[in-house]
């Protein structure tokens, strides 16, 4: 969506609708009204634990996930190179998963008699790819105004909107991302607003509704945006400056503090009528309680430091900065704060606040002890997050920063799982984890690698060599 010039000539419509998009963050509520469907006890999602903190002002479960695991036979992929994203690269390895859960990973895994056996000779296996920054479904293809549902650009603070209410499960970009190995996304509102609304953490599967895709037990995120976008979009009514941006966040959270106090008091004593619900404050109060994660679009180092001060003022954590092209300038601070960075490998220069992007951003932040995620913010980029991670790893190495292959794989698997608070459920290939598994034709850190098979919770949602496992959205039917 950042592209312009020649590309604009070719895809004017897409570019036009994306003008104000491009940033994400999310806040999640950990209400466990819907139960995940693990068949094995081992993997009851840790995300559920977060529910304990939920003292939300809302009454009862809201818009619950209706996700159900697709029934599948057990699968054994044998004799592959398995990159677990948990420290190991196992040559001649096998992985067995059953009922949506990884049973075992290693060099001597026995296949049960009912297992589908996949020959992984000469192939690689990684966890499913997770993109923490996607606008798929909310800025759907074919990219007309009719599908432009990513920015509620009518007010600089729209904490009350939820990305899932825009999400179109028939977006033809979904199968493309699946073919790139993606199993989970965070769909975010755009970055027109200071506070753009709630994100949705979704299993990337064919489905009739977004509810069927909602990652069971996952928290919401809250999308916030720094810098150029909000001040450009609202220049006539304000904010029109970065100081205006800061004042806007502060005013919103001050209001939410009062709201939270009133509700916390009522939750404790139940005296009189409950306070009037307010959707905007409800979301922000959940951020203050730590139940919704802040996902903050922010490019410049100095602005990220301002946002950390804001978070300190109101007592919340920023789970991840997104885009963060200048994160390498403050890797030490980010490590200390425990705030992740979700970044591109090499995007730079398409806007003024992106001028200082460098190839070594990921490697330098990693070296400083920070948590790195390679994200897309782009329907093309989401299809090759493995390639982007490879670019960042090798450029880091050439600069003398010793990034391991395992770390590079974590950049698009385990680390994004942490950013979404689902790292105890997905993100690595370890027994008990959800069977989100990708079989690659070659080393996934090579430009020539392609996802051959993609399993989502054990379900074979994509097979490059079998048209029966190449999902099409309704939109694509009957098209060339």
């Amino acid at each position: 969506m950042r592209r312009s010039g020649v590309q604009q000539m070719k895809a004017a419509v897409i570019v036009a609708i994306m003008v104000a998009a491009g940033c994400a963050s999310g806040a999640a509520r950990a209400r466990s009204g819907s139960s995940p469907a693990p068949a094995t006890a081992a993997a009851a999602p840790a995300a559920q634990a977060a529910a304990a903190q939920d003292t939300s002002s809302a009454i009862g479960p809201q818009y619950p996930s209706t996700y159900k695991r697709h029934p599948n036979p057990p699968v054994l992929i044998k004799n592959a190179t398995i990159m677990t994203a948990a420290g190991q690269e196992i040559q001649g390895g096998s992985i067995l998963f059953r009922d949506g859960r990884i049973v075992s990973v290693g060099t001597s895994v026995q296949a049960p008699s009912d297992a589908v056996v996949v020959d992984g000779t000469g192939k690689w296996v990684t966890p499913g790819v997770i993109d923490v920054h996607s606008h798929i479904g909310v800025y759907a293809a074919p990219g007309t105004f009719a599908e432009s549902d990513g920015n509620e650009a009518t007010n600089p603070v729209t904490a009350e909107v939820w990305a899932e209410h825009s999400f179109w499960p028939q977006d033809p970009q979904i199968p493309l991302a699946i073919a790139g190995g993606v199993t989970t996304i965070q769909a975010l509102p755009g970055s027109a607003n200071l506070i753009g609304g709630r994100s949705a953490v979704l299993k990337l599967i064919p489905a009739r509704s977004v509810q069927e895709m909602k990652f069971p037990g996952a928290r919401y995120g809250l999308k916030m945006a720094c810098g150029e976008n909000p001040k450009r979009v609202y220049q006539n009514r304000g904010p029109s400056t970065r100081m205006g941006n800061m004042a806007g966040y502060r005013a919103a959270f001050i209001e939410a503090q009062g709201y939270r106090r009133r509700w916390d008091k009522w939750n404790k004593d139940h005296q009189g009528d409950p306070p009037e619900r307010n959707l905007r404050n409800e979301t922000l109060a959940e951020v203050l309680r730590g139940n919704i994660y802040v996902q903050n679009h922010c490019y410049r180092a100095d602005e990220m430091l301002q946002m950390l001060d804001l978070a300190h003022e109101f007592g919340f954590k920023i789970r991840s900065f997104h885009h963060a092209v200048e994160a390498y300038k403050i890797g030490d601070v980010l490590a200390r704060e425990g705030t992740a960075v979700s970044i591109w490998s090499d995007w730079w220069g398409f806007k003024e606040e992106a001028m200082d992007g460098i190839y070594e951003n990921a490697a330098l932040v990693q070296q400083a002890g920070g948590r790195v995620v390679i994200h897309s913010d782009d329907p093309g980029g989401i299809q090759r997050l493995n390639q982007e991670a490879a670019k960042a790893m090798y450029h880091g190495r050439r600069a003398g920063i010793p990034i391991t292959r395992d770390q590079a794989v974590r950049w698009f698997t385990a680390n994004p799982a942490w950013v979404l608070g689902i790292d105890s459920v997905v993100g690595t290939l370890e027994p008990g984890k959800m069977a989100d598994v990708v079989l690659w034709s070659a080393d996934p850190l090579s430009v020539y690698a392609q996802a051959l098979q993609v399993y989502n919770d054990g379900w074979l949602v994509y097979d490059r060599n079998d048209p029966a496992h190449q999902p099409k959205t309704d939109f694509t039917l009957g098209q060339p």
Binding site: S4, Q8, V13, W347, F350
Partner: protein
């Protein structure tokens, strides 16, 4: 000093040379003298006094040529006052040549050339007829020293993006383009009448109609952006009607009709990683480059994000992953674009007498694991430095030393 540098002889020895014009040569030497390739082969004697570059275990290829960017014309896309690519308000801007808008000091040049991109086509933006593109080397203090060929092509648009110039209809766009071409023809035979205003109004200015004459004579290629199959066919039709030297760009649905395109002898510039469907091209897909090449079409690759023209390598690698033979992919970013823009006598391959745009890589140029060891542009060993490498050094250890 300058004379000494120009007279310098450089010998790149021991590498695997991919001349592109012929099969790879193991353990070969490339000799560069006075900015030109003086010799290439396995048995080249290195003259005394030559600067030796040890390329043992390395790959040596021609410098990569990107066929569609706005290098030097677009510093920061979102900052309007750094953009020089479009002549605003002119839907027919045939006389607009981008060359003097190019900033040789652009930061984008150093960032991208150190990754092996040595030349680019600087393409104007616009609505129907964008103007004239210039082919430039990514080294030089002035546009004169950067210039390879200008104009290298006239650029026009028959895709969805041009609809505004056609009254909101593709048919209107095609009709308007024909009207402009017809008027250019008429203008050429009635210049005196035009000056005396003894001719009905023509659809463009005299300067624009004049600028179209080399296109009508088949001397200057016309690059046409078209993505939908029917738009590609319209372009082919117009090309045939006016006997133009047509080049298709974009051509997202070209894979549907490779035979038609090949039969017309029209080369195609594609962006392999473009696969997001829009109503301009619902049939867009990764396999486009491979299927076109298989059908006999001359394929050139492009990366349209100018600031990351360096990702042309990734574009090529992905084209290979999706079926384009590796050798054809390398050709599609070197010799084929040189041929298409009429400079293959000087550019695009490692052959004696050609301009010494040469890259020494640690391996396969398309692989992420590969680094760039040397970039020669016109024989100059380009410093592998940019604003980005300076940022890296400043912030390598924190806090930075300002």
């Amino acid at each position: 000093m300058i004379a000494f540098l120009l007279a310098q002889t450089i010998a790149i020895t021991g590498g695997t040379v991919y001349p592109v014009s012929g099969p790879k040569i193991e353990n070969a030497t490339v000799l560069i003298r006075d900015g030109k390739i003086a010799a290439v082969g396995a048995n080249v004697a290195v003259p005394a006094g030559a600067t030796r570059i040890d390329a043992a275990g390395k790959w040596v290829t021609p410098g990569l040529i990107d066929a569609a960017g706005q290098m030097g014309l677009r510093e920061i896309s979102a900052v309007d006052n750094t953009n020089e690519a479009s002549l605003r308000g002119n839907e027919v801007a045939a006389a607009f040549n981008v060359l003097e808008g190019i900033n040789p000091a652009s930061m984008l040049i150093t960032v991208n050339r150190m990754e092996g991109i040595t030349s680019t086509l600087a393409v104007p933006g616009g609505s129907l007829i964008y103007g004239q593109a210039a082919l430039i080397d990514l080294d030089g203090a002035t546009i004169e020293t950067m210039r390879i060929k200008s104009p290298a092509a006239m650029v026009a648009d028959l895709s969805e993006g041009a609809k505004g110039a056609g009254g909101g209809s593709r048919a209107g766009v095609a009709a308007r383009l024909r009207r402009v071409l017809n008027d250019a023809r008429e203008y050429a035979t009635r210049r005196a009448d035009f000056r005396r205003r003894q001719i009905q109004d023509l659809s463009a200015s005299a300067a624009d109609l004049e600028a179209l004459q080399p296109v009508l004579r088949g001397e200057l290629p016309l690059v046409v952006f078209a993505n939908r199959r029917s738009d590609i066919e319209t372009a082919l039709r117009i090309g045939k009607e006016y006997k133009l030297r047509l080049i298709l760009a974009g051509a997202a649905e070209g894979w549907m009709i490779p035979d038609e395109i090949a039969a017309a002898g029209v080369p195609v510039i594609v962006e392999p990683l473009d696969n997001i469907p829009s109503y301009d091209a619902l049939g867009i897909r990764y396999q486009n480059a491979a299927l076109l090449a298989k059908g006999g079409v001359k394929v050139v690759l492009m990366e349209t994000a100018t600031e990351n023209t360096r990702d042309l390598k990734q574009q090529a690698g992905n084209a290979v992953a999706n079926g384009l033979p590796w050798e054809q992919a390398l050709r599609a970013v070197t010799l084929t674009p040189a041929e298409v823009f009429g400079v293959a006598g000087q550019y695009g391959s490692i052959e004696v007498g050609k301009v010494a745009n040469v890259v020494v890589w640690t391996g396969d140029p398309f692989e992420f694991s590969t680094g760039v060891e040397h970039v020669f542009i016109r024989g100059r060993d380009i410093p592998l430095r940019s604003r980005q490498t300076e940022l890296l050094e400043r912030y390598r250890t924190l806090p930075p030393k300002y």
